[in-house]
């Protein structure tokens, strides 16, 4: 059983056949300027295809669009086809969306990450739709012998008003397929959009809501075995000895195999391999530093005062500015490691055969899964196929391929098709965490409360560069120094939704709130003054759009009634990340002497909103996620071993804890940018700044629930 339409070449031929002699348009995702080209069905069936992706129109009018990017809950499988369908001018209810497999010949950037899919594909998708539409118009013009300029389209129908004639796209598809694809096709004006900007439901709603097999963990292949992998007990440990005799004797167990520092139990069912794994007797020995959270705190303190940090940005003369300052504000902020905790734990299906490898499962980067598999086995990447399933979340965890390789290693050792599953405990203790980071901010104020100097040092554990040195307020402060240290640790880290900015934004926007207070200025006006400065007399390079920063700030302040409300305490936060701009205002009310987070306003500028329903939920979900992890997320270590392993000790936010959220978009018609990440970073500070207003207690470390300041107000 294959759980998804398998869109490799064999299935492409099926798709071609389903088009019933209609139009098959290849559209090029590689280059915005590339010319789409038409292929006839015979050519498609023969596999003579030089294109990167395809939209087909069947004679019954059904539009099939291949969506090449992985769907992880960001809604790309709905948003991409909306863009094509808009320019194509079709009836949305007749659009069928098919997930494409990995195909690096046809597609570029088959990645779910960095909020980058929409900005990457916006022009390509519109061109694809518009080109097909124009060919259908030309086909009608030829048939009716009227000028193409007199022909209009709507909902998959071509019309000529003068002679009162109409034909459906399906009826014209065969004619259109014979035409040469035009170049330089004019795209629609944003004001003429019929689909883009509407609320359109998730294309997978029905299979999701009826429990159909969609996810990697649902995949089943006749004769496949189940596997679980025992990873080392702690970061910095390696296997000394393995006694698998008891495990091997347990019911349903086919084999126990060892690779690198892992032991895999392979058997007939998930439960059997899970129980047998518990019967393994593995001894470990030290292989590196066995770090504890207390070690990290000591390392942070040491590096915070060490010379020779890596300078990330230097504007003006920061030491001179601090020397002449009337007032200096200095604070430190710290966050812990975080696991990603997607609801679907890591899993993958692998079948390593003599002639090649078949991979099926949830991955944000199918190309990496393929290439790392090829490298591991010493084979050519073209011997590896990757079919992408819908993902039960990823949040960056599935950008790594370690869990894919678990499946590949096991299948290779047992010479059988294998579905490898991590338990929640494996998932939470399996590394690739959001790195722990500490920041120190310093601001120099002159006698008028202007910020004349700004220093930021970031120290991270396997965080690389934990600063985003060109983000605001860089460009708005004449004298600025941003530097960093990285401590190398056996604890593995990786991108976690809105990498680095997920905590940096909290720290920075909380600190700017502190500076505004110290300067005796309104926090919103303080930001606006800085932005005005960045616009009029920028310090160094400004790599964000100042006007868009100002616009979301003003929109949030207007909608929230900033500074005009009685009985609520407001906190402001503003952040630009992953190409989108988001300002948030948190509202806290005091109930019986305790602060309650009542509401968060969000003003977002992601350019054109493709799908109102999807976009709003990305923002609301990002805020809930940002709030939950700021409040509770805490992964700690003792001698290299994670101290939290499941949701009983690692808390995620629940439904009864969410504040009201109201979302507003800036309507500016600018080319769209992504929304999978940008709403999360500002949330922590919107809440913390409002809590400060309400209680005079400043939260500087996450999770909040572990902070003395927080405990004192709750």
């Amino acid at each position: 059983m294959s759980i998804l339409p398998n869109t490799n070449r064999r299935d492409f031929m099926k798709l071609a056949a389903s088009a019933g002699g209609g139009l098959l348009l290849g559209f090029n995702w590689l280059s915005a300027n590339a010319t789409p080209a038409v292929v006839d069905e015979a050519a498609a069936a023969a596999g003579n295809l030089d294109f990167n992706s395809y939209l087909s129109i069947a004679t019954d009018g059904t539009i099939t669009i291949l969506s090449p990017n992985p769907e992880v809950g960001q809604g790309i499988k709905t948003a991409f086809p909306i863009i094509v369908a808009e320019e194509l001018d079709v009836d949305w209810t007749k659009v069928k969306v098919v997930q494409a497999p990995l195909d690096t010949q046809k597609f570029e950037r088959q990645v779910a990450g960095g909020s980058g899919s929409i900005p990457h594909s916006w022009d390509r998708l519109r061109q694809a739709g518009a080109t097909a539409r124009l060919m259908l118009v030309e086909a009608a013009a030829n048939r009716w012998k009227v000028p193409a300029s007199e022909i209009t389209t709507d909902k998959g129908v071509v019309m000529h008003k003068g002679s009162n004639r109409k034909l459906s796209y399906g009826e014209l598809a065969q004619d259109a397929a014979k035409l040469t694809a035009p170049k330089d096709v004019k795209l629609k004006d944003t004001k003429d959009y019929k689909l883009i900007g509407q609320s359109i439901k998730n294309v997978d709603n029905k299979p999701i809501l009826t429990g159909q097999p969609l996810f990697g963990i649902d995949f089943h292949r006749e004769g496949m075995l189940y596997a679980m992998v025992q990873h080392p007990s702690a970061f910095g440990m390696k296997i000394k000895s393995v006694d698998a005799s008891a495990a091997k004797a347990m019911p349903g167990i086919v084999d126990v195999v060892q690779f690198k520092n892992n032991v895999a139990v392979v058997g007939k069912s998930t439960w059997q391999v899970k129980k047998a794994r518990e019967a393994l007797k593995i001894e470990y020995e030290k292989d590196g530093d066995l770090e504890s959270t207390s070690d990290h705190n000591r390392i942070f303190s040491q590096l915070m005062d060490s010379p020779n940090a890596t300078v990330r940005r230097k504007d003006g003369d920061v030491e001179a500015a601090f020397k002449k300052a009337a007032k200096v504000v200095k604070s430190e902020y710290q966050c812990p490691f975080l696991p990603h905790s997607p609801m679907e734990p890591m899993n993958f299906f692998a079948h390593v055969r003599p002639d090649g490898v078949e991979l099926v499962g949830p991955t944000q980067t199918p190309e990496r899964a393929r290439n790392e598999t090829a490298k591991l086995l010493g084979i050519s990447p073209d011997k590896v196929t990757v079919e992408m399933t819908r993902m039960g979340g990823g949040f960056g965890r599935r950008l790594a391929a370690d869990y894919v390789l678990d499946a590949v290693e096991v299948s290779n050792l047992v010479k059988a098709p294998v579905k490898m599953i991590w338990t929640r405990e494996d998932d939470m203790t399996g590394g690739n965490y959001r790195p722990a980071v500490r920041y120190r901010f310093e601001a120099a104020l002159d006698a008028q409360g202007n910020m004349i100097g700004y220093k930021l040092r970031g120290v991270g554990i396997n965080a690389g560069n934990p600063t985003r040195e060109d983000n605001f307020p860089s460009g708005a402060v004449d004298n600025l120094l941003i530097d960093s240290f990285d401590h190398k640790s056996p604890i593995t880290t990786g991108p976690w939704r809105a990498p680095i900015t997920n905590f940096l934004a909290f720290a920075e926007q909380s600190f700017l709130d502190e500076v505004a207070m110290a300067a005796g200025k309104d926090p919103v006006q303080f930001r606006l003054d800085l932005l005005e400065k960045a616009k009029k007399s920028p310090a160094g390079e400004v790599k964000y759009d100042v006007d868009r920063m100002i616009a979301v700030t003003k929109l949030a302040a207007e909608k929230a009634g900033w500074g005009k409300k009685k009985g609520v305490h407001q906190g402001f936060s503003l952040y630009f990340s992953h190409r989108s701009y988001v300002a948030q205002i948190g509202e806290v009310a005091m109930l019986k002497g305790k602060p309650v987070i009542k509401k968060i306003y969000a003003a977002a500028d992601c350019g054109v909103v493709i799908n109102q329903s999807g976009a709003r939920q990305q923002i609301m979900g990002g805020i809930v996620d940002g709030m939950g992890h700021a409040m509770y997320g805490n992964m700690t270590f003792k001698n290299g071993a994670p101290e939290q392993a499941n949701f009983n000790t690692y808390k995620l936010i629940k439904l009864n804890e969410i504040p009201e959220i109201e979302v507003f978009f800036v309507d500016n018609g600018i080319a769209p940018t992504g929304l999978g990440e940008p709403a999360l970073p500002p949330t922590g500070a919107a809440i913390a700044n409002a809590l400060f207003k309400a209680t005079n207690k400043r939260l500087r470390n996450q999770p909040f629930v572990e902070e003395d300041a927080y405990k004192s107000i709750i």
Partner: protein, 154 residues
């Protein structure tokens, strides 16, 4: 190993498994009913929620040997075509992001509304706060439960 006869979604199934095998894994591995999801294995997240004699139950900690003749309903059996009022409401409100937790959310909501067809906001919050959604679709879950409560019961 022992042979268990199970009443699921109005049909009879047989599974030859160890007595301590959780219902979740019998559904998923032995019977091919994979709509019920694994999330934590310790009854903390609600992704595995099914109905046992109408009660919302965490199937990940329910040994198959304890089911007996109880009637089990999974997401696949809630309705044939997704027409249960809760499923319809989930579609109308467009709740799902990644969608992985939603079967458990829907089963929790359906059992809750059967007992309390016209709940107030606090009751909805209390009923739906045992199910985790990492995407943060809680506002829409809450709204969808309200929408479902306005539909004719099924």
């Amino acid at each position: 190993m022992a042979l268990y006869k199970l009443q699921i979604n109005g049909r009879s199934y047989q599974a030859d498994v160890e007595p301590d095998t959780p219902l979740l894994w019998v559904l998923r591995d032995n019977l091919g009913l994979v709509g019920t999801k694994y999330g934590c294995g310790i009854a903390q997240c609600g992704a595995c929620t099914v109905h046992i004699n109408g009660e919302a139950t965490r199937s990940c900690v329910m040994p198959v040997s304890a089911i007996g003749t109880s009637k089990v309903v999974t997401i696949e059996g809630l309705s044939a075509e997704g027409t249960h009022p809760v499923q319809q409401a989930w579609d109308e409100v467009d709740v799902a992001q990644c969608g992985y937790c939603q079967a458990g959310q829907i089963m929790t909501a359906a059992a809750f509304l059967k007992k309390n067809p016209k709940p107030n906001n606090d009751e909805i919050d209390a009923a739906m706060s045992g199910n985790i959604c990492r995407c943060g679709t809680y506002h829409r879950i809450r709204e969808a439960v309200k929408v479902a409560s306005t539909k004719p019961a099924k």
